[in-house]
Amino acid sequence: MHGRSRVYAFSAAVMTIAAVASGTSVSRAHDPAAPSAQKDSPTHAEGHVHARVPVEYRSLGAPSRVWTDAPTLARGKAIYDAQCVVCHGEHGEGDGPAAAGLAPRPTSFRNVSMVAQMTDAYWFWRVSEGGAAEPYRSQGSAMPAYKDTLSVDDRWAVIAYQHALSGHAGAHAATEHPELHAPHTRPHPAPRGLAFGGPWVTRDHRSQPRGPWRYAIRGELSQLYREFNGIDFGHAHLGETLLHTQDPERVEKARLEILAFIFSAPRVPPDEEQVAPILTRLAPELAKTFDWTHVFHRSLYDLFASAEPDKERAYRKLLGDYLDKPEAITPHRLDHHQALWSFPESKAFRDRFPKFNTQIWAYHWLQAAVYDVQLLGGAERQRELMPTIIAHYHGYLRRPPVEWEFMPMMPEGAPAFSSRFPEAAAIFDNLHMLHDNFDDILVRPDLYPSMSAKRAAILAILPIYLHRAHGPDDVYGDFHETPTGGHGGHGMTMSGPRPPSAAEVLAGTAPPSDQPQPERRTSGSGKKP
């Protein structure tokens, strides 16, 4: 490498990493979920600032062989001896000859807990960008960026060797680091009277409830109908893909396949059992909840596309029919931002596959925004306005809004609808959060390595969402959004890059959807009237 000062700088950066990681413990901070979890509480008792891995690095994972591959470790040792040992010491204890002159002192790779918590992406980012990245530059880090001087393979090699110095003999995976337990994550709740898990599950498929509005959207808003067919495929194909692989290239291929499917404007809904044959049989209890709530979704679109004169009454009827079934999702506003977003696997999909994740969130934005357009007039008026909304949505598909850090909420995309029909708005937000919980489980094979483990995790979370668990006893009351807590958009204000309302899109005041999303504040108006 290139001079003593760079070596010192490298040491300082790695030390910063150590400080970051040792400040707190997340479920497994060297998984992709960790940095974002850290961001939720950015400053720890020790005063270390935890930075979120930038989007361009977030989906990176080390080639699985590097951790135990002898030639790779040998190459990593050679790099380490040449570049790192002067600060970190021969055995990685942070006691190299130059360490005494550095403040803060270089990290010790013998800190088992710290090393275990560093994600692949975080580690690679820090070595690549060094102290030039914030917040480390502001802290005075002189760490050079090694992205121009070490090849990708060499960077993984030295990271693997540093990992080996901690004493971990195996792969850098959660199963190799049982010491990791996250104090600020919460385990999946134990069964509270709604236990699933038996092998015998009834199918219970239901036809869409009958009414004069039935199937109206297909005839009245055919373009939108086809978009929804594409979205159905998108959810199923994603889930099945994640069951089989976490390989970024294969997952990206699936994302592009979904885009092609959506842009083909499919006339016929996909058969989700054929798109995702394993997924739908892994947890049919969950599939039934998804199916029944999607039927409710489509029934409401049909209703608002129809000429039904008393839509309020029809809405109440459809809502009652929906909630009457055991698979129904609760209309209570649940605590999406905290209680449901702090499981050990939470945020994993967002952080590891940000483009794919925000592509899915774009589906959810469309599904919300459509409702406010439907309140603006009859089918003819909707046909005039809907192409603008769909074009905005297509912008999100072409360039997923990776700046969004949380899913679009119904009161953001459809504030008018959410105000008039708060139960449906809450149900659909809960539905979309359930999708996120589910995807997070699928991208953590380290936590849930077997099909039975995945199924158990899914069935531990599912009851939280079910309406029948939120009766008078309300056994999952601790998952409700608190009056002052949460940021779910139900009358709350959210900041950061947030999606626009349908009205903003129609008025031309929304930020362009195919460009980086700017910071803005959105105010939900979904308070119950």
Partner: protein
């Protein structure tokens, strides 16, 4: 009803308006286009109409056209009831039940959803009422159905027994039926509108002197619209009595309402 009315019914059904929400082209029903069926009922509240036309070329005896029509209703959760009949040309030449014009009243109950470890099970009961040409006696058929998938390949086992209440001399008062088949979605996951389906089957002959009929069928189901499935199939009976079918062809449509 007679043989003329069936094509008219088919034509009328083709003119019916179709609507959204997919009727399932992977949900196999007997005769559309092969005899093996899956263990699942149609969704609760759904009405389905299945109809078609076909021709069978016989090893000995005259060739025959046939025109089935069936109505199903998802009456309860996982439970469907239905009524149907099959009309035929040369109805007097049909020796074994069901006879042309017999009314069939049926019910299918699905016990469970298939999971990764557990197959789906279904039970079906049909009562054949002797309303057809030269028909006599009520026949009752019971059938057990098992469906098990391996990724996208789904296998189906249908095993049944048919009780015949008006059997003649030298005839059995019942017979077994067995069909084993498979279905596979062509082009999945990116394309899921077509299903290839095939089976092999055995049906004991009612006439004691006749051997068991053994045959095979192959066909496809294609999702024309969200509420309409088109099917087409061919089959042959390569063992059995002299009047067995050497080749059969059928095509039909299924509608969901």
């Amino acid at each position: 009803m007679n043989a003329v009315t069936a094509p008219v019914l088919v034509a009328l059904l083709l003119l019916l308006p179709v609507s959204a929400s997919a009727i399932d082209h992977t949900n196999l029903d007997e005769g559309r286009p092969v005899r093996v069926e899956d263990a699942y009922a149609i969704p609760t509240g759904e009405i389905a109409v299945e109809t078609g036309a076909g021709v069978t070329l016989r090893h000995h005896g005259g060739n025959r056209g046939f025109f089935p029509i069936e109505f199903w209703y998802g009456a309860l959760a996982n439970f469907q009831i239905g009524i149907g009949t099959t009309l035929s040309t040369n109805p007097h030449e049909i020796e074994e039940p069901p006879k042309a014009g017999d009314v069939r009243i049926g019910a299918l109950y699905n016990l469970n959803q298939e999971t990764l470890s557990m197959p789906a099970f279904g039970m079906r009961v049909d009562v054949e009422v002797p309303t057809g040409v030269d028909s006599k006696g009520v026949d009752i058929a019971v059938k057990g159905i098992v469906t098990k998938s391996f990724e996208r390949l789904t296998l189906h086992l249908n095993a049944g027994y048919e009780f015949v209440t008006a059997s003649g001399r030298d005839e059995r008062d019942g017979r077994y039926t067995l069909a084993i088949g498979g279905s596979y979605p062509l082009g999945a996951p990116l394309f899921t509108r077509a299903t290839l389906v095939g089976d092999v089957f055995a049906e004991q002959s009612l006439r004691r002197r006749d051997s068991t009929t053994v045959g095979a069928e192959l066909g496809g189901r294609y999702q024309l619209t969200p509420r309409m499935v088109w099917d087409v199939g061919v089959g042959t009976e390569f063992a059995g009595p002299g009047d067995r079918s050497t080749f059969s062809f059928t095509t039909g449509l299924s509608f969901g309402f």
